[in-house]
Amino acid sequence: MLTFAFRKILTLLGTMIGIAALTFVITNIAPGDPARLVAGPNATEDMVATIRSEYGLDKSLPEQFIVYMGDLVRGDLGTSIVTTRPVLEEVMRYAPATLELVFVAMFLGIVIGVPLGMLSAVYKDGPLDQVTRIFSISGVALPAFWFGIILQLMFAVDLEWLPVSGRLPLVTRPPEFVTGLLLVDSLIAGKFSTFWVSLQHIILPAIVLSFPCLASILRVNRAEMIEVLQSDYIVAARAHGISSFRIVALYALKNAMLPTLAMIGLRFGWMLGSTVLVETVFDWPGIGLYAVSSALSSDFKPVVGVTLMIGFFFIVANTLVDLAYAWIDPRLRKA
């Protein structure tokens, strides 16, 4: 089990290097002279040349790559043109907001998706199954940005139950920084009113973000449950007199959880990607919004920084899923 974990962590490092290489390639597919782009439209030929040597753009691509990797290892993701601050610092500042949003959304997705999937499998082709089928496919098909706007219209503008956007009202002082997750920090600080306010703020974006995730977890879990329930060992368990409830809730669920886990890992990454939409709609100060606003002002370094960061979170999540797999499935432990 330990060597298994060790191998997984090695793979993780390898993938990180790969992603870094990928972002380097993307940086270099940009058309035109990057030095001129940085220098601005009114720069003279001399200024462009200065910038070229300053940024090391006059070196060959392999050399540039080595420099780039060296910077990454030292945690240097470059500087934002707009804010003139180090990208790493800004990404670290925005990341907790995104993670908080993703965690809450993932929680909703699992807590609702898995039981619903189970129930629709057990009552296959029944009314509940028909409803969840339409519901789950709609969930994947809903444009997150549009759905967000509709929810804002209904619950924030019309009914005024929940705030329209943001993480906390401007007047509320954020709790002392511990984890960066407001829900957690406010509890640690004992400020329940702040907890309540931030909970109100996170509900709508979390629902929008979790909807497709919930839908696909439901579908995978349903499909796997159906397959497992037809398998020979379930037939055998029934023949040996094990109660239906125990068969579904214990035996079959554990077997069906394996592919569901894989889907959860996959959807985690997908959610990180979708934060660029949801955070834009809800003005949520996370790395998604940071990436979008940087991209719109042609500030490229932060976009790369966020891509790297999202890739990193995703790989970590997948590694955790792999470990959970091995924990559940004894056949994998030896391998």
């Binding site: 060992y233 037939v235 368990a237 023949a239 040996h240 007199g241």
Partner: protein, 548 residues
């Protein structure tokens, strides 16, 4: 005395797209306490559906049209699910065909058995006993079915055990509730010959020790005869004949039973007629068509350990003979067959076909050589591409190896269908519309399309029903004399080998244990392994049981 299990005029339909299929047509069967009843039938006879109905775990879309099943005086035909919990696994329990797929891979063996015990205690209303008590009981059960070291087994997972051990665990699980009736659904089919004999012995000893009532279903008459005193023969959803096993084996009344019994190859009968024919068919110049010299195949596993599948093996096949290769699973016989065909690259050694060393060939010369030797695979169900029509499948070798026009290929495909005794119309059909025997004929037609000189047959009948096996074997012998073919015939079934092979090698762990004329090997085996193999083969053969 009322019967323990009474099935009366039971009729069952399964709904399909093409309308209802009558799977069971008026079954009448009575089982008394202490009986051992066998149900013999080939695939599609409805025997599995019947016994599963007895446990209330029949197919989803099934509908009982008429009749009833009663157990110990209680009608269980349409019992609600909650009442089943008092019967299933406790009063009637079941062991299954393939012990791998019937054990949950994610739970330990001990956990699965003690869960069954807990479920029974709950159903009985006695309250669930402690974990330790259940563990003791589980280990007792494991011990009872002859498994060594139960306390270690308790915390092992199914994938760590062999097939025979898993089957014993399933039996232990079935015995957990001290059942009135034990149903055994093809309990030996997925196992090796020697293991089969052990499992049958175990069932017999349990019947004696625990005074069990057993219903065993199988396609293997030998296995049924070993266990069951009474037996019923099922054919196309009906019981065509039932009575004492002895009587049925000795004096079968129904035409189907007679046909079935005649089809079982007998390990103890020397096939005089065929042997004579083979000698007659021998060409005037009996050269060696195929030789293998010092053939070796080593696989390297991911952990770096070497596994020798075939070890320094030499053989020579004479032109015109049927050369048998017999061995249990894992003996390397399939690897050997594929190496002779160059489908697997040998690690070292030479293969000489018709005087030419073919072990170094590659590319175009290898492709050309393939015309002269062809392969017939074990499982006709997966040897045909489901997306090609039969006509395409038979024509494929011609399209690949010759420049024949489309029309000529069509004509040749029809002629080949004729040779393998299938209607020409079949060229428009798809494999899934054909039966197993028909599919194997198509595979043979495909193999002989290029007029090869040598056919390598890898267990060509083991995926087929017994009566179909007999037909295919007869047909193969006819074909050989018609087309002057040489066969290398691979099988785990000794009776089949004896029936058709001229010379035979016995393989074990990649090496030849014994070789010689087939008759000589069967009459006077020199090696212990061969003797043991023939002995366990005899146990599952019908003739030996008749003499009991």
């Amino acid at each position: 005395m009322t019967a323990l299990l009474d099935i009366k005029n039971y009729r069952l339909d399964i709904g399909t797209f093409d309308g209802p299929v009558h799977v069971l047509k008026g079954i009448n069967l009575t089982v008394n306490r202490g009986d051992t009843v066998g149900i013999v039938g080939e695939s599609g006879s409805g025997k599995t559906v019947l016994v599963r109905s007895v446990l209330g775990i029949g197919p989803r879309n099934a509908k009982v049209v008429e009749g009833s099943i009663s157990f110990d005086g209680q009608d269980i035909t349409n019992l609600p699910e909650k009442d089943w919990t008092k019967i299933r696994g406790i009063r009637i329990s079941m062991i299954f065909q393939d012990p791998m797929t019937y054990l949950n891979p994610l739970f330990t063996v001990g956990r699965q058995i003690s869960d069954v015990i807990a479920a029974h205690e709950k159903a009985a209303g006695t309250g669930v006993s402690s974990k330790a008590a259940r563990r003791t009981r589980t280990e007792d059960l494991l011990d009872q079915v002859g498994l060594p070291n139960p306390s270690m087994l308790f915390s092992q997972y199914p994938h760590q055990l062999s097939g025979g051990m898993r089957q014993r665990i399933l039996i232990a699980m079935a015995l957990a509730g001290k059942p009135d009736i034990l149903i055994a659904d093809e309990p030996t089919t997925a196992l090796d010959v020697t293991v089969q004999a052990q499992v049958l012995d175990l069932i017999n000893s349990l019947v004696e020790k625990l005074n069990l009532t057993v219903i065993m279903i199988s396609h293997d008459i030998g296995a049924i005869a070993t266990v069951a005193k009474r037996c019923a023969v099922m054919y196309k959803g009906e019981i065509v004949e039932q009575g004492m096993t002895q009587d049925i084996l000795n004096r079968p009344q129904h035409e189907y039973t007679q046909r079935l019994l005649a089809a079982v190859p007998d390990i103890d009968i020397a096939p005089e007629k065929v042997a004579a024919e083979a000698t007659a068919a021998k060409p005037s110049k009996p050269g060696h068509l195929l030789e293998a010299i010092d053939l070796k195949k080593v696989y390297r596993s991911q952990s770096g350990a070497d596994f020798t599948a075939v070890n320094s093996l030499s053989l020579s096949v004479k032109t015109g003979e049927i050369f048998g290769v017999v061995g249990e699973s894992g003996s390397g016989k399939s690897t050997l067959a594929r190496m002779l065909m160059r489908l697997i690259e040998p690690t070292s050694g030479d293969i000489i076909f018709d005087g030419q060393n073919i072990s170094g060939l590659s590319g175009e010369p290898l492709r050309k050589m393939r015309r002269h030797m062809q392969f017939v695979f074990q499982n006709p169900h997966s040897a045909l591409n489901g997306r090609h029509t039969i006509g395409d499948a038979i024509g494929e070798p011609l399209r690949i190896q010759t420049n024949m026009s489309r029309r000529d290929i069509e004509a040749r495909a029809e002629a080949l269908l004729d040779i393998v005794q299938l209607p020409k119309m079949f060229k428009y059909r798809y494999p899934h519309e054909l039966s197993g025997g028909q599919k194997q004929r198509v595979c043979i037609a495909r193999a002989i399309a290029l007029n090869p000189r040598l056919l390598i047959l890898d267990e060509p009948t083991s995926a087929l029903d017994i009566s179909v096996q007999a037909q295919v074997l007869d047909f193969l012998q006819e074909l050989r004399s018609e087309l002057n073919l040489t066969y290398v015939f691979i099988s785990h079934n000794l009776a089949v080998i004896r029936q058709i092979c001229d010379r035979t090698i016995v393989m074990k762990r990649g090496e030849i244990v014994e070789q010689g004329d087939t008759e000589q090997i069967f009459m006077a085996p020199r090696e212990d392994y061969t003797k043991a193999l023939i002995e366990s083969g005899r146990k599952t053969s019908q003739a030996a049981n008749l003499q009991v």
